[in-house]
């Protein structure tokens, strides 16, 4: 079971005064009728207070959601597909990731996109053991397992076993290189391009590059009927 479980507390208080202040609509899921936990309520209250205090605006929040929605693994897949087909792009990507992904309109902000390449002898695997740093702009939010204490604690010491738990069996003769990203570098793995993809378009190539491949815990697969 994912140990990142959520505490659920019942909050039933007497009605206090009406909240008649500026009250931006809460982000909702129409079919979610579960009781909110303490931290769901907390982040809503924090947002409302910060807006009222003029620290942030509702518009900033709204635009922030749009930015967050633009962070998707499909972006990373496009980058990988281009690196696979365009050697000069790959060279630029490896030398200066931020500059190269600007071709796609992607900005990394304060962090430095650092791209590492799998070879036929080396598999790169990314982790942040201290918290869960992750290249969100090109991969979206990190998956539950990446954020888990299990992954953070064990992938640096038994990477092969951890990859197996995530569904990937690596041959014994592959060297595993784990990257613990603890500073302002954010890592992206270019997986090896499968031989069976000769002549494929960038779009078709991107379709086999999953998020897990770009973290380094999986490798792209070409299905028999593709």
């Amino acid at each position: 079971m994912n140990e990142d479980h959520e505490h659920r507390h019942d909050h039933h208080h007497d009605h206090g005064q009406d909240n008649s202040g500026a009250h931006a609509p809460h982000p909702t899921q129409p079919d979610d009728v579960s009781l909110p936990g303490r931290y769901e309520v907390m982040i809503l209250a924090m947002r409302d207070l910060l807006i009222e205090k003029g620290v942030v605006t509702a518009d900033q929040i709204r635009r922030g959601f749009e930015v967050l929605d633009s962070w998707q693994p499909s972006r990373g897949a496009q980058i990988v597909a281009r690196a696979w087909t365009d050697p000069s792009f790959k060279k630029r990507l490896l030398e200066d990731g931020n500059a190269a992904v600007a071709d796609f309109g992607i900005t990394m902000g304060e962090t430095k996109l650092t791209v590492v390449e799998n070879t036929d002898t080396v598999q790169n695997v990314i982790v942040c053991t201290l918290c869960s740093c992750y290249p969100r702009a090109v991969l979206g939010l990190p998956p539950d397992w990446y954020r888990s204490k299990s992954y953070r604690s064990r992938v640096v010491v038994e990477p092969r076993q951890v990859l197996k738990e995530l569904g990937t069996d690596l041959p014994d003769d592959i060297t595993i290189r784990v990257h613990d990203s603890l500073a302002d570098l954010r890592y992206l793995v270019i997986p090896r391009r499968p031989d069976a993809t000769e002549g494929w378009s960038e779009m078709r190539l991107a379709s086999i590059v999953s998020r897990d491949c770009m973290i380094g815990v999986a490798n792209p697969k070409v299905l028999a009927n593709e």
């Binding site: 430095k112 650092t114 053991t129 201290l130 640096v156 010491v157 038994e158 990477p159 092969r160 014994d172 003769d173 592959i174 060297t175 595993i176 290189r177 784990v178 990257h179 613990d180 990203s181 603890l182 500073a183 302002d184 570098l185």
Partner: protein, 100 residues
């Protein structure tokens, strides 16, 4: 500023467990590794974490550790490594090995 350490330089991570915000993980403290590359200068997160400006900037290095040097019972590949982003003030250069 030119980095003081170059790729291939052997280094030892300072063995200390100070309080406060640190980004050098426990598992590499006191261990030996090799500079893989210099990564540029950044404001010191140990100071930023406590509200200071973190200046002057410090050089960040990617340090490569052999897994077998980190863990007594490592059961994986002979050449498996962990690369960790470490700030310069946590690294002590080691003497060049004879014959290099």
């Amino acid at each position: 500023m030119t980095p003081r350490l170059a790729p291939g330089d052997r280094v030892q991570v300072v063995l200390t467990n100070p309080p406060g915000h640190r980004r050098t993980p426990f598992y590499i403290r006191g261990k030996q590794g090799v500079i893989e590359r210099a990564c540029g200068e950044f404001a010191n997160p140990e100071e930023l974490g406590h509200g200071f400006d973190g200046l002057p900037k410090k050089q960040l290095y990617r340090v490569r550790f052999r897994q077998k040097d980190l863990w007594a019972n490592y059961r994986g590949g002979e050449y498996d490594t962990v690369d960790v982003d470490v700030y310069e003030h946590w690294l002590t250069p080691l003497p060049v090995l004879a014959g290099r």
